[in-house]
């Protein structure tokens, strides 16, 4: 087994970061110049947004259910079971809704983008596209980026709503709380900053999912094995970066809104 020198390894990382940055720059710049592939954007919105709806609804709902159950156990010790609504709502809107939706969509779509573009790369379809006078970044990356950012925003709102509904269901059916109490405490606990925080995160997550998925897809080499490798790397990288960026955005929002 041969070991790569630290210098060569460092150069590889710098080159990858440079390549990724260029891809992001070109994908964003293409939004503001013609030609625009509007039909491709809508196709991707359908695939990414509508296609991800079932997993986002189910994940959100059951996360809310579990959150209510777990919260109730701890809150009971302090005689504060009535605060379940507040805890579930705040957790879903600020943190779990955006992050879990990001991770679920990443698992479904970053892998899908990497494998689709990777297959096109290894079968020379990307080269064929360039040979036919089309910029693959404009045709393939930008529509995916726009569609993912746009749809993840709304998927997160749906996830938040389903999570709160799940929490309410458990609170009413199992914890014997009043639905009005649950929703009232939840609503009263939310402040402007919490909602902004919850809606800023999916914008970052959407950007990460699309760019990482496309980046790994477009750099695929090594046939079908390479496609599998790119798919795995895309999911791992996008998931880790989503959580990392979530931490940074949370820190930033606490700095701005003070909570």
């Amino acid at each position: 087994m041969s070991f790569i020198s630290p210098e060569a390894y460092a150069k590889t990382i710098v080159a990858s970061v440079q390549e990724y940055s260029l891809l992001c720059g070109r994908a964003v710049a293409n939004i503001f110049t013609r030609p625009r592939y509007t039909a491709d954007i809508f196709t991707q919105m359908d695939s990414i947004g509508v296609g991800s709806l079932p997993i986002v609804v189910l994940t959100g709902f059951f996360t809310g259910c579990v959150l209510a159950l777990q919260a109730a156990v701890s809150l009971k010790e302090f005689g504060a079971v009535n605060m379940t609504g507040e805890l579930v709502t705040l957790s879903m809107v600020k943190e779990l809704g955006p992050v879990l939706t990001g991770l679920m969509v990443s698992g479904r779509n970053a892998s899908g983008m990497a494998s689709e573009l990777g297959s096109m790369k290894v079968s020379e379809q990307i080269d064929a596209m360039r040979a036919l006078g089309t910029d693959p970044y404009r045709k393939l990356v930008t529509p995916r980026l726009v569609a993912t950012v746009f749809m993840l925003f709304f998927l997160t709102i749906i996830s938040d709503a389903c999570g709160i509904a799940g929490g309410a269901f458990v609170s009413v059916a199992l914890l014997k709380l009043k639905a009005a109490t649950f929703f009232h405490t939840g609503y009263m606990s939310l402040e402007h900053g919490d909602v902004v925080e919850g809606l800023v995160k999916p914008i970052f997550s959407g950007f990460i999912i699309a760019t990482i998925g496309c980046y790994y897809g477009l750099r695929t080499t090594g046939g079908t094995r390479g496609v599998g490798r790119s798919t795995t790397q895309a999911v791992v990288a996008s998931s880790v970066i989503i959580i990392l960026v979530d931490f940074l955005v949370t820190q930033l929002m606490i700095g701005i809104f003070g909570r």
């Binding site: 079968s123 020379e124 379809q125 080269d127 040979a131 036919l132 089309t134 910029d135």
Partner: protein, 278 residues
Amino acid sequence: MAETVVSPEMKELVASGQPIVEFDDVSIGFDGHEVLSNVSFTVAHGETRILLGPAGGGKSVLMKLANGLIEPDSGEIRVFGRSLQDMTENELFEMRAHVGMVFQESALFDSLDVEDNVAYRLEEEHVDPKEIRERVLEALRFVELEQVIDKFPSELSGGMRRRVSIARAIISKPDLILYDSPTGGLDPITSTTIMELVIKQRDVSQTTCLLITHRLQDAFTLATHRFNPQEKRVERIPDNGIDPRTKFLVLNEGHIVFDGTTLELTHTKDPWLREYIE
């Protein structure tokens, strides 16, 4: 297909006597291994240049260089009189609008049907849908595959995919066609069909082309056959004639070992070349 519509720029280029493709001392390597070394050659207007050589000799890399899909490490490549290295990415896309390329494995878009694959370039250029349909049918008729217009690439045989790929390359009536092993991996009968299409395209449109092949038989078929427009079939050039516009370039381990006409190749004294062509 109708004859090539020669653009004013192309007329000017032809009048000036400049080559369509010009490689000047081009070298390129990957992972420390040199694939092409100091390669220089030209392809004149209307010429068919056949690239021969053992597998791994850098022929496909050369083809991608000629279309600006990759950049050389050193040297200069001029296509239609303009240096590819001096062009921006957008200028390269414009240049490629005048170049048709047939890939080794066809490289058809598997999510599009045959009609959309062939029409791809015209749709990108926002040509009128009615005209697109007519031109797609014309291109498919040329490759004798009108009946598969609604099928997807996965439903076609290897030979059919290759023919659709040729239709896609010629639909915009390009000034230069690059064929990367159009008969690679095909059975002899299908290979003959493909070569007949290449000959037909060459003789009907007089398009400049660069063609890679591993089969010497295909190369010599191109040099010794012509398309008879009256009888609408490919036939041997009478009196053992040789097409004067067909020339050869032989690559071995990244170096040019032969650059000349069919007769020069068949009468070569070079021992390696003799062994290779025999």
